[in-house]
């Protein structure tokens, strides 16, 4: 696969910043716009850009299909598990106040965990969808 040098170098330069932006969107979601869903899509976008410019093999070295496909249920389990913790500790399902002695801090932590779950599921699903379509096309 021979592609433009400019395209390759440009992609290489921009990739870490895309990932950094995704992490910013994820962890700054408490303060500004953003959150797990958007960050997950941006992360998947990074892998897709890598696959488009450097080929599917390079992308699957970074994000192997087995990992991506495991991320889909993992994120949903993290979300649901966060709710179960509240249940086990004697409060309602998805009541985050059990995570800390200070209820507000517990809620903050709960939101963080839940958003992490959303990020993992969304990033996994979007990348797995892309892989599925591309591999089908071969």
């Amino acid at each position: 696969m021979s592609l433009d040098l400019i395209l390759r170098v440009g992609t290489k330069l921009i990739l870490p910043f895309i990932l950094l932006f995704a992490l910013y969107v994820q962890f700054h979601g408490d303060f500004g716009p953003g959150g797990g869903f958007q960050a997950g899509v941006i992360t998947a976008g990074m892998v897709i850009l890598l696959a488009i410019t450097f080929g599917l093999k390079a992308a699957q070295r970074v994000a192997p299909r087995s990992l991506v496909e495991r991320m889909i249920p993992l994120g949903a389990l993290i979300f649901a598990g966060t709710g179960v913790v509240g249940l086990v500790m004697g409060k309602n399902y998805l009541d985050y106040s059990v995570f800390s002695r200070d209820p507000a801090h517990g809620h903050e932590l709960g939101i963080f965990l839940v958003e992490a779950g959303v990020l993992i599921t969304v990033a996994g699903t979007m990348t797995a969808l892309f892989y599925a379509f591309v591999e089908r096309g071969r």
Binding site: G35, Q38, A104
Partner: protein
């Protein structure tokens, strides 16, 4: 107003376009315009989602789909009068429905009087999270977001089952031909 006009222009272009590649690209443009509209409406979180999902990932996946199918839409044999009529009437009813909505941004609109004041007043106290949108999504309406995550999970699993199951069968066929 400019954005809405552009949206209408792009929509007409999508309808008139025969090449599906053009349709996909125009749909991406439509999503970016929609994201700009949402920014104008101060819904930055939704705008971000629209830009990343609608214009980014959807475009890529649609292009990957185009790789699998024919890329030109067939010319329709007869004129579709009834569908045109139905969509025109639906559109008219929707526009008529917006006439009775309170003007955009009114503070005393019904939707701003129910739980919104409590969210705005108590979010920081209760969750330590300054972004009310995030707090509502992940905490106050945690069940809804759990449902959304499950939908994404189900969609991902479903598409993978459909596409990969067929692929495996295709591969065994090919292996039979060339051992």
């Amino acid at each position: 107003m400019v954005l809405l006009t552009l949206l209408a222009v792009v929509t007409v272009a999508i309808v008139r376009q025969r090449s599906l590649f053009g349709v996909v690209i125009l749909a991406g443009i439509y999503s970016f315009l929609m994201a700009s509209v949402l920014i104008v409406l101060d819904a930055v979180d939704v705008a971000m989602t629209e830009a990343s999902v609608g214009a980014g990932v959807s475009t890529v996946i649609l292009l990957a789909t185009l790789h699998l199918i024919k890329t030109t839409e067939m010319r329709s044999v007869r004129r579709h009068v009834l569908p045109l009529f139905v969509s025109a009437v639906t559109g008219a009813v929707l526009v008529w429905g917006t006439l009775v909505l309170p003007p955009f941004g009114t503070a005393d609109a019904v939707i701003h009087k129910h739980v919104v004041p409590r969210y705005i007043a108590d979010t920081i106290k209760e969750t330590n999270v300054p972004n009310v949108v995030t707090a509502v999504l992940a905490d106050y309406r945690g069940y809804d977001t759990l449902g959304e995550t499950t939908v994404i999970f189900t969609a991902g699993i479903g598409v993978m089952l459909l596409l990969r199951g067929a692929r495996r069968r295709g591969r065994t066929d090919r292996e039979k031909v060339s051992p």
